[in-house]
Every structure is written in structure tokens, then in C-alpha cells.
């Protein structure tokens, strides 16, 4: 995702706004890099991405090769984080699991964002009965306990990683819709949008080329924080057996499968949990920093 709003040279008023906003983005970037927490978050995220890309190099074993006689081995020089119920190397499974978690995060948030932003933008821009209908639907989704909604959706679609991502994505829609709606409401009445309308711009064009780019900041923040939430929700579903199917090294599923051995082999449960925690922490730290950077008013 580019941080640069798309430039639109055909409207005069936009030009100045554009220039102003460009410098705002740069300012924000500086603020971001000055904040200790967001830099730590950025480092964690970078390490995770590198791990995901270089997984075959970093992993010491194949993540799915089993060795039943060697099950439940404690951490050792050979198996840094021990082995699981089928004698698979936990370290290597966690390393490969990074790829899956990143995919879950991006796809689930992608789904929430596409649907949520569209609904929120339409509701905010058109107002009146369109707004009423969309926001009531959002209210219904909010009143429905989110994890139960996800469980029910997966039960309908059938348990699989893809369906878990879809369910988690749908559960995240209301957040985006509400944020975007209020952002659009605040931008809608500004001069340059009114100008665009005055010169006869089409609704769709105004909405997607002018209104949305100027509501970008809160969307980016929500997306970053949403990745963390999505990972937690998906891991929770996998923990209940409603997510990734074996032998996929998804962290929540690993943790759930190791549960029976918590008395004898706690490492099988402990390490995947640490991985989930670090992943979510990284995105939370970074998202926090982003919010402070993009919204100077909130910065203490």
C-alpha cells in the first residue's frame, strides 16, 4: 500500500491540498521514526517478514516430517524448541508458521478493509436512508458477539484456513465501516470536495479519488492494528479446531494440538503462544506509533 495519495491534476483546488497533504505525510514519517515504540514494532515486523521469506533457510528441519519415536522431546541442541506430538521440530514449524500468519493477517484485514471501506464510504458520502440502512446492518453485526459470529460462519462454510480468514475478515468489517464513515463525513463538507461536486464530478469518482485518499490515515492505522487482532482471532478459531487443518503449522493449531501434553511437555504449548504474542505485539507497537504520527492532536 502506498502512503501517497493519488494525485489528480484535473482539479485546481486539489493541487494545494495535495501539496499540503504530501508534506503532512512526510512529517508523519519523521514522527514515526522518532518514536521508540514504533521503531521496535517495525523491527519486529521486519524480522517476521524476513523469517517468512527465508523460512527454508532458517528452519533446521522440515516442518512436516514426523518421527514418532522422537515425540515430545524437550528443547535441545538438535531441536531448539523441542518436538511435538509427532516428533516434528517445533522451531521449524514456528518459522514456517510465520508465512501462514502473515497471509492470515493480510487476507483477513484485506477482506475487512475492502468491504468495510466500501460500506463506510457509501454510508458517509450519500447519507440519509443509504446511511441508515448500512449503519443498522453494522449495528446488527456489532451486537452479535464477534467470536460467535466467526464460529458460526466457519461452521457454515466448513473448517479450513481460508474460511477462517474469511470469517475473521467479516467480523472486522464494522470497525472499518465506522471509522471510514466518520472520516468521510468530516472530509465531505470541505471546500475542495464541494468544488469537485460543483464542477459536475461523478459520485464514484469524487468518492474514490478525492474523499477516500483524504481519509487514508485512520484506515492505515486500523489496518495495522487489525492485523494483530486478526491473528489473535484466527488463532482462537484454530485453537477450537475451526481453522487451519493439519499438518499446516499454524500457531493456534499447534498450541491446541499440544494441549493434551501440558503436564509433560509444556514447551509444545508455550512456544507457539510466544510466537503469536510477538507477532501481535509487533503490529500493535507499529500501529500505535502510526496513530500518534498521523494524528498529531492525539500525541502527548
Amino acid at each position: 500500500m502506498s502512503l501517497q495519495p493519488i494525485s489528480t491534476p484535473d482539479i485546481q483546488t486539489q493541487e494545494t491540498k495535495q501539496a499540503k497533504s504530501k508534506s503532512l505525510w512526510i512529517e508523519a514519517l519523521f514522527r514515526l521514526l522518532k518514536s521508540k515504540t514504533s521503531v521496535i514494532g517495525l523491527i519486529i515486523i521486519t524480522i517476521l517478514i524476513i523469517t517468512a521469506i527465508l523460512a527454508p533457510i532458517i528452519a533446521t528441519h522440515d516442518p512436516t516430517t514426523q518421527s514418532i519415536p522422537n515425540r515430545y522431546q524437550a528443547p535441545s541442541g538438535e531441536h531448539w524448541l523441542g518436538t511435538d506430538e509427532l516428533g516434528r521440530d517445533i522451531f521449524s514449524r514456528i518459522v514456517y508458521g510465520t508465512q501462514i500468519s502473515i497471509r492470515i493477517g493480510l487476507i483477513a484485514v484485506g477482506i475487512s478493509m475492502v468491504i468495510g471501506v466500501t460500506l463506510g464510504a457509501i454510508a458517509g458520502y450519500f447519507g440519509r436512508w443509504v446511511d441508515q440502512i448500512i449503519m443498522r446492518i453494522i449495528d446488527i453485526m456489532m451486537a452479535f458477539p464477534s467470536i460467535l459470529l466467526a464460529i458460526a460462519l466457519v461452521a457454515v462454510l466448513g473448517p479450513s484456513l481460508t474460511n477462517a480468514m474469511i470469517a475473521v475478515g467479516i467480523v472486522g468489517v464494522p470497525q472499518f465501516a465506522r471509522i471510514v464513515r466518520s472520516a468521510v463525513l468530516s472530509v465531505k463538507e470541505t471546500e475542495f470536495i464541494e468544488a469537485a461536486r460543483a464542477i459536475g464530478g461523478k459520485h464514484g469518482r469524487i468518492l474514490f479519488r478525492h474523499v477516500l485518499p483524504n481519509s487514508m490515515a485512520p484506515i492505515i492505522v486500523q489496518a495495522t492494528l487489525g492485523i494483530g487482532t486478526a491473528i489473535l482471532d484466527a488463532a482462537g478459531l484454530s485453537f477450537l479446531g475451526l481453522g487451519a487443518q493439519p499438518p499446516t503449522p499454524e500457531w493456534g493449531a499447534m498450541l491446541s494440538d499440544g494441549r493434551a501434553a501440558i503436564q509433560n511437555a509444556p514447551w509444545v504449548v508455550a512456544f507457539p503462544g510466544v510466537a503469536i504474542f510477538l507477532f501481535v505485539l509487533g503490529f500493535n507497537l507499529f500501529g500505535d506509533g502510526l496513530r500518534d504520527a498521523l494524528d498529531p492532536k492525539l500525541k502527548q
Binding site: 512436516t64 516430517t65 514426523q66 514418532i68 519415536p69 515425540r71 515430545y72 506430538e85 509427532l86 466448513g158 473448517p159 479446531g241 487443518q245 493439519p246 499438518p247 494440538d257 494441549r259 493434551a260 501434553a261 501440558i262 503436564q263 509433560n264 511437555a265
Partner: protein
């Protein structure tokens, strides 16, 4: 100054924890011996559904109803031989159609009413009034047109004599009557409570129903006037603790005395603990992987199914049972009469498996799915892990397995509709008759899509003839012969990968004595004692 807050917080937390923890220690002791009463707390994974055994099929309901009800005849403590219970004597006409039972004349129901022949007739008639009486229909072949099934009539031929007339001979009939679903209920209580009878059960058994708190506990108390061996403990509390691991921790803490559904991983821990013991239930079950022979594709070829049998290293697989399972080669457990031990299990031989696959035209292997379920069953404590192990083993012969895990109910629906390629399932015997394994699970009669017990959809006329002949044959030696041959047919056609027979472990406090678990899965607790 700053540190002081933290210390205060820590101190508060420590105080709360220590205040609470000493309470758990003391209550454990209080619970067991208050007023010198012997209370057995039995921990299990789920609540009973109904306490009317004639309407349920779940083991958790039967566990409790076994304490409350008696059947006409009952199983011996350690096997499925039949002995007297409410009936003291019985005989059967030469054509195998008319059974006559002499009943006890000294039995009272828990509600104080007397037990007599009319009550038996009442119960049999009740079981034919609705499809809700699952086991009756299933064991006696009842259908909507003919609610009685093979039982033509049941009449009281004396105050304490009952005659049951069948429409065709049925070799396992007596064994079947000993099954807990055919426990005799008090007619008066059934009529009084109507639809609520299931939560107000009244029988003649060693324990009297006291209280049921849904999803939490069921309490039964000793029946002092029991006609059999009067119970040694005063009260049994069945407590629901859903998670296997948590339940075991409760046992370690001493808040429960006996539990089922032990994680295999916890067996060694229990064995290393002086305060605990492991009690193994004798095996009368089988876990298997059915291969859908009905689907077009590789599994319809016998050679492929045999190859799969050879590609799986059962010795490693059985290690996942952590000592509670034995490798299976036949559909019936070795403890059952008629078991064919001469059959040689398919050897673990990857090369031979590859050769067979090549012969069948699958040298390059194929893609296939394996359906498994999420909750452990007594015959398969780790379904998900076992599925992964098999998938990985089949990779060696180029068979690429995709695992599909569903919850138990979905799994049953999927497999009986034949939507699977390969699927795990298992069976615990109901009445100790081979018919109850082979006919139910492998006969073509039970391979109907939508309600299949035979989820391999294996249809062999040869097997069908053997099993049908064994059903109407009353001579046990001849029946044995027929079943021995049937197992050979099954072995050759290989509709299954037989996996294991288990001895499901129970963990108990070492104070529990004289507890004899029954192979059918549950038993009355009247013999069990608790030592100081």
C-alpha cells in the same frame, strides 16, 4: 515511592492466592468424608443427555442409568456372558422363537411399587410406541411400518413369568436383553412424569436417583434394599469437567476420585504418582480407517486398498496410543469369541505396496482425502494426530492425503452420506456378539447412503451370506465357523485399514478398590469400595 505501589499490588495478589489455595486443600478432604459418608466423585467429559436409557445412545447417559436400572439378565462382571438379574431363569423353544423368563418376586422399584411381570410387558410395549427408542429399533429391526421388529409379542404368563415371541430366531437375543437400554423402568413413574420422566428416573438398581444439575453434576444414593449386592459407597456424584487435562488435574488435587477420558500423555504421570492408579477397561472395540469402495477411483480397486494396508507402519502408529492400544488386524477385538487369529496382518512393506499400486495403474500415486474428527473417542484418543501420521506414511508411496477434520456430528453425517474417500471411525461392542461388529459395520445391508453403518460401502455377497447364516444359526460352534470365514473374506478385500483395539484407561485415586470396568463401556458401581 514508586516501588511501594508494586509491592502493595504483589502483596494483595499473594494474599488472595494463599487465602484461596488453602481452601482447596481443606475442602478436598471435607468432601470425601463428611459425616463418615463415603462419597465417590466420578469425573467425566460431558453431561448425560437423558436418564432414560431406552432413549439414548451416548455413553455418558448410560454411565448413570447403569446405576439406577436393572435389566432382565445382565453381563458377568468381566465379560459379556449372561447371568441372572431381574429374571432368575429362562429357556427358549426348540425353534428359537419363544423365550420364557422367570422373574424375581422380591424386587421393589425405588418409588416403592412392586416389580412384576406386567411391568416388563409395559416396558416392552412402551419401546414400540415411538422411533425415539433408538436401541430397540436398532437391535430388533423396528421400522415405521413395524414398530415391534422381530419381537412379535410380549405377554405375562404368570405374576412372575414373561413370554417373548420372536418372528425369526435371533442368536444374540439374550445378550441383547442384557444391554443397559433395556433397563426396566417403573410404569407408575413413567406415567406420572410423562415427558419429564427422563429427569426423574425410577428403576430397581443399586443406586437411587437424587439430583441433576445440568452440565454440572448428577447425584445418586445407595439403595439399601437392593436385591443384589448392596453398594459399598453411600453416594456417587457424576461431575462434568469437559477438558481431559483439567479433569486429570482435579484428580491429582483429590477433588475427584475416579475419571474417564484420560489423555494418553497423562498415563505415565499417573503411574508415577503413589496417590493414583490406572485402571484399564478390557477391550471390546475397534478403531479403523474405512476406504470408500463405492467411489470411482483408486479405492474401488482391491489392490490399492491392500497397498494402503501395507504402507502404514502400525507399530509406529500404535505408539501414539501411549500403551493403551494394540494393533488390529480384524474388525472384531481379540477378546470376542469367533476372533480369527490365524489371519496374518498385512506386513509393513513400502516396496510391496508400491508394486501393488503400480500393478493397479497408480505407480505415480494419487491425491485423496481423509476425514477425521476433532474429539477423542475411547478407541481413538488422538484422531487428528493419527490422521497426520497416516498421511505422512502414505506419502512414501506417493499417495497425497488431504486431512479434513470435522466435529463429531458433522463427521457422522459426512461419512454416512458417503462424501468421503477415506475416513476414521470406530465401534464399541454393544452385546459381545460378533454380529454386532461385522453385520453392522461391513454388511451390504448397512451400506445405504444416508444411514450407512458400513461407511466403506463394502458390498460383498459372499460376506452377506455368511453373516446372514450366522444370525439365524443357534449353535455357537457353527456360528464361530461362519465368523472365522467371514473375517478371511474381509481381510482379503481390505475395505478397512484396521488400526487398533484399545483398553481405555481410567485414572483413580489409590483408595478405590474392587472396581472392575466392564468391556461394554460402563457398569454399576455397587461392588466398588473406597478405603481409608
Amino acid at each position: 515511592m514508586k516501588k511501594r505501589y508494586l509491592f502493595m499490588l504483589l502483596a494483595v495478589v499473594a494474599m488472595i492466592i494463599s487465602a484461596c489455595s488453602d481452601s482447596t486443600g481443606s475442602t478436598a478432604d471435607d468432601g470425601d468424608e463428611k459425616g463418615g459418608k463415603k462419597t465417590l466423585v466420578f469425573g467425566r467429559g460431558a453431561d448425560s443427555i437423558q436418564l432414560d436409557p431406552s432413549k439414548v445412545t451416548d455413553g455418558e447417559s448410560i454411565y448413570v442409568t447403569n446405576q439406577i436400572y436393572d435389566t432382565l439378565v445382565r453381563y458377568e462382571e468381566e465379560n459379556t456372558e449372561v447371568k441372572a438379574a431381574l429374571a432368575t431363569d429362562w429357556d427358549v423353544s426348540d425353534d428359537g422363537l419363544v423365550w420364557t423368563f422367570q422373574l424375581r418376586d422380591d424386587v421393589k422399584f425405588h418409588d416403592g411399587t412392586d416389580f412384576a411381570a406386567d411391568d416388563v410387558v409395559f416396558n416392552f410395549e412402551r419401546w414400540t410406541t415411538s422411533a425415539e427408542f433408538v436401541y430397540y429399533g436398532y437391535m430388533f429391526g423396528a421400522s415405521e411400518e413395524d414398530m415391534g421388529g422381530i419381537i412379535e409379542k410380549v405377554e405375562a404368563t404368570g405374576d412372575y413369568e414373561v413370554q417373548i415371541t420372536l418372528s425369526e430366531p435371533n442368536a444374540p437375543f439374550l445378550q441383547t436383553l442384557a444391554m443397559p437400554p433395556f433397563g426396566i423402568a417403573s410404569p407408575e413413574a413413567v406415567e406420572e412424569h410423562g415427558d419429564d420422566y427422563f429427569k426423574n428416573p425410577v428403576g430397581t438398581g443399586p443406586f437411587i436417583f437424587k439430583e441433576w444439575v445440568a452440565d454440572d453434576s448428577i447425584t445418586v444414593t445407595k439403595n439399601e434394599d437392593y436385591f443384589g449386592e448392596v453398594a459399598k459407597v453411600d453416594e456417587v456424584i457424576f461431575r462434568v469437567i469437559p477438558d481431559n487435562g483439567a479433569r486429570f488435574m482435579e484428580l491429582q488435587a483429590g477433588t475427584i476420585d475416579l475419571m474417564t477420558g484420560l489423555n494418553p500423555q497423562d498415563i505415565s504421570t499417573a503411574e508415577g504418582d503413589d496417590a493414583l492408579q490406572i485402571i484399564r477397561r478390557p477391550s471390546m472395540n475397534v478403531a479403523y480407517m474405512a476406504m470408500n469402495t463405492d467411489k470411482e477411483g483408486p479405492l474401488s480397486d482391491k489392490r490399492v486398498r491392500q497397498a494402503i494396508n501395507m504402507a502404514v507402519n502400525k507399530e509406529e502408529l500404535i505408539a501414539l496410543y501411549e500403551g493403551i492400544g494394540k494393533e488390529a488386524k480384524n474388525p472384531i477385538p481379540p477378546s470376542l469369541w469367533g476372533y480369527n487369529d490365524d489371519i496374518e496382518a498385512y506386513p509393513f512393506d513400502v516396496e510391496k505396496a508400491k508394486a501393488l499400486l503400480a500393478e493397479a495403474g497408480y505407480a505415480d500415486g494419487f491425491d485423496i482425502t481423509l476425514n477425521t474428527f476433532s474429539n477423542p473417542r475411547p478407541y481413538m484418543p488422538q484422531p487428528k494426530v493419527t490422521a497426520q501420521a497416516i498421511a505422512e506414511m502414505l506419502k512414501a508411496v506417493n499417495i497425497n492425503v488431504e486431512i479434513i477434520e470435522s466435529d463429531w456430528d458433522t463427521h457422522l453425517t459426512l461419512t454416512e452420506n458417503g462424501e468421503h474417500d477415506m475416513a476414521f471411525l470406530g465401534w464399541t461392542g454393544d452385546n459381545g456378539d460378533p454380529d454386532n461388529f461385522m453385520y453392522v459395520l461391513l454388511d451390504k445391508d448397512n451400506a445405504t447412503v444416508g444411514s450407512a453403518g458400513n461407511i466403506a460401502f463394502y458390498k460383498s455377497d459372499k460376506l452377506h451370506d455368511l453373516l446372514k447364516a450366522a444370525q439365524v444359526e443357534m449353535d455357537q460352534d457353527k456360528r464361530t465357523e461362519l465368523y472365522l470365514e467371514a473375517q478371511e473374506v474381509i481381510h482379503e478385500d481390505a475395505p478397512w485399514l484396521p488400526i487398533a483395539h484399545t483398553t481405555p484407561p481410567l485414572a483413580a485415586s489409590s483408595s478405590i478398590a474392587d472396581y472392575i470396568p466392564h468391556p461394554t463401556g460402563s457398569e454399576p458401581f455397587n461392588l466398588l469400595d473406597m478405603k481409608e
